[in-house]
């Protein structure tokens, strides 16, 4: 039997143990989420030191106030939300964010397909379509995709983080993913080859 990878249920168990005084569980939470949160935070700010400070505050807060966390099933959401709030607060304090508003969204996510390093000479239709679709994405939508790909957050949780309706989040995800489904792209490709011959 292979071990079940860590999912929400698993983290609820870890959280339960931690609440009952098991400091090992805290270490486990830290080891699992520190990298994930750092990856997310570094899309919002490129100041590593500021980001590390935020992560430190976040985990100290969890340790100190965690027993009050009412819905441990939302643990991951809580981590992302607190981190984002804390980064923006710190940036604002340092006056780096001059025109700060609650709708602030600066999210630097570039897909490998878009970067200069990616060359595709095959003139693959599917790739072309996807590139076009990616070029229309604003920063908020990029953050949405990042959260979908790089966390276990639900559409409701992502929507809440971005002030969007869960349905809108889901539609956006599917819009991009449609380009990656083989029956769409591959059939087009097949058609293309048949005509070309």
């Amino acid at each position: 039997m292979t071990k079940e990878p860590r999912n929400k249920d698993y983290w609820q168990l870890v959280w339960f143990n931690f609440k009952n005084g098991d400091r090992n569980s805290f270490e486990e939470l830290f080891n699992e989420f520190a990298d994930q949160l750092f990856a997310y935070g570094s899309k919002i700010t490129d100041d590593r030191e500021l980001l590390k400070d935020c992560i430190q505050d976040l985990f100290v807060d969890i340790y100190t106030y965690s027993p009050n966390l009412k819905n441990p099933e939302l643990l991951e959401y809580y981590l992302y939300k607190s981190l984002k709030r804390s980064i923006i607060k710190k940036l604002k304090k340092e006056k780096r964010l001059e025109s700060f508003n609650t709708e602030h969204n600066s999210f630097h996510l570039a897909f490998n397909l878009e970067t200069d390093g990616y060359h595709d000479d095959s003139k693959n239709f599917q790739i072309e379509f996807l590139k076009k679709a990616l070029s229309t994405l604003d920063e908020k939508k990029r953050e949405l995709l990042f959260l979908k790909f790089d966390s276990c957050l639900s559409y409701i949780e992502i929507g809440d983080l971005l002030n969007m309706k869960p349905d809108t989040v889901k539609k956006q995800v599917y819009r991009i993913i449609l380009h990656l489904r083989d029956n769409f792209g591959a059939r087009l490709l097949e058609l293309f080859f048949i005509c070309w011959k």
């Binding site: 071990k3 860590r6 400091r23 750092f38 430190q56 985990f59 100290v60 790089d150 489904r181 083989d182």
Partner: protein, 395 residues
């Protein structure tokens, strides 16, 4: 839901693509083996996401370690701070700066200590059965037989070490060295050692104790394989630490028993007076040490690495030092094991039920073996038969 939708809605799918690792890879490998019909589509879909890809910033190992240290430091200063009044909280900022310098200093000490503790890496070995009696191995490798089966050693006199209350075995010059002595007590023997700080250690049969002639440094450290009862002399500046292969028991001044035989799966620590803390050797940095109150026993299971705490009568775990054995609802196999060690004999039984019998009572081990076995056979309603001098059989 078609297969693509199911994959998209499964966070483990993206984890597999963007954060692969042995655990998740093997989970998907099993999944693909069990669903071969879907394998092609899944792998192709994965391949395309991989091509879409994006890079993320990563914390280096060093950064992550430093961050962990900062968090522990802050958590611990908060925990300490809770006990003080609010006035103190304002001072913490300044204290933190002071502590930073202090911790640079202690890091240096810690690194030095680390080097020193390598000397403790003595491999866990069983008591050499060929030993006829208790032996003291001196730092330079000479071994001295202690003659009696109930020997005693006294290190309190700075000028000499007294063996069995009369003979002197080391002159002062040799005592000056801080290297380790090793006391080996085979089955059928016991010994009492008074260490240089006046701590008294009773070593039970089949045990080894490694200790310095004189304590130096900021802790009093000894290493134990087997069972010993400690009456530690009070010194709140110099914690007394008993190291075993899996645990470290730390005290300031107290009476307690540690049973850590290499062949037993359980390490027991029983506290009679005072307080002790128990530290797991392989503990993670966030793990708290276990604290015992008087008349509590911590039972550490080597295979699961877990400890349980029981309320016990500590006197019953200490009276072996007086040559008595007391057991209250204890498994027969453990009683037999104690007798085997004490008298250096083998007790055989074929019915596994015999070993799991639970019995209560007291045995006076100062009496001879035949008498003790007779009493035990009455309590447990079994019969002992003598095969030869060293072997007995339960029928």
């Amino acid at each position: 839901m078609d297969i693509y939708e199911r994959l998209i809605e499964n966070p483990l799918f993206f984890k597999w693509i963007y954060h692969p690792g042995p655990e998740i890879d093997s989970w998907w490998k099993t999944y693909l083996e069990m669903n071969p019909a879907e394998a092609d589509q899944i792998l192709q879909f994965k391949h395309r996401f991989k091509a879409l890809g994006f890079s993320v910033e990563k914390l280096s190992d060093a950064e992550k370690k430093a961050l962990t240290k900062r968090i522990i430091f802050e958590i611990e200063s908060i925990e300490r701070g809770e006990k003080r009044n609010k006035f103190m909280i304002g001072l913490i900022k300044y204290a933190a700066v002071a502590l930073l310098f202090f911790s640079i200093g202690s890091m240096y000490i810690y690194l030095k200590m680390d080097k020193r503790s390598k000397e403790w890496n003595v491999t866990e070995t069983r008591i050499p059965s060929q030993l006829q009696g208790p032996v003291l191995i001196l730092p330079h490798g000479n071994s001295i037989p202690l003659k009696k089966s109930e020997s005693s050693l006294d290190y309190t006199n700075p000028d000499k070490v007294v063996l069995n209350n009369d003979s002197v075995i080391q002159s002062r010059k040799e005592v000056e060295t801080v290297e380790q002595n090793q006391l080996i007590i085979p089955y059928g023997n016991r010994s009492k050692v008074i260490l240089s700080d006046n701590t008294v250690v009773w070593l039970n049969a089949g045990s080894r104790l490694i200790y310095p002639s004189k304590f130096t440094g900021d802790r009093r450290e000894v290493m134990l394989f087997g069972e010993a009862f400690f009456d530690v002399s009070k010194n709140k500046d110099l914690p007394f630490v008993v190291k075993t292969s899996f645990l470290e028991v730390k005290v300031l001044g107290t009476e307690f028993d540690v049973s850590a035989y290499p062949e037993d799966n359980i390490i027991q620590t029983v506290l009679k007076v005072g307080s002790v803390t128990i530290h797991r050797n392989s503990a993670g940095i966030f793990e708290k040490d276990l604290e015992l109150r008087p008349n509590q026993m911590a039972s550490f299971d080597k295979s699961t690495q877990n400890s349980k705490i029981y309320n016990v009568n500590a006197n019953e775990y200490a009276i072996w030092t007086k040559g008595l054995l007391s057991f209250d609802d204890l498994e027969m196999c453990r009683v037999l094991k104690s007798l085997e060690r004490f008298y250096n004999i083998q007790i055989h039984y074929t019915d596994p039920k015999t070993g799991s019998l639970r019995i209560s009572g007291k045995l006076d081990l100062n009496k001879d073996l035949e008498e003790v076995l007779e009493y035990l056979s009455k309590v447990s309603e079994t019969n002992f038969a003598k095969i030869d001098n060293d072997n007995y059989q339960i029928k």
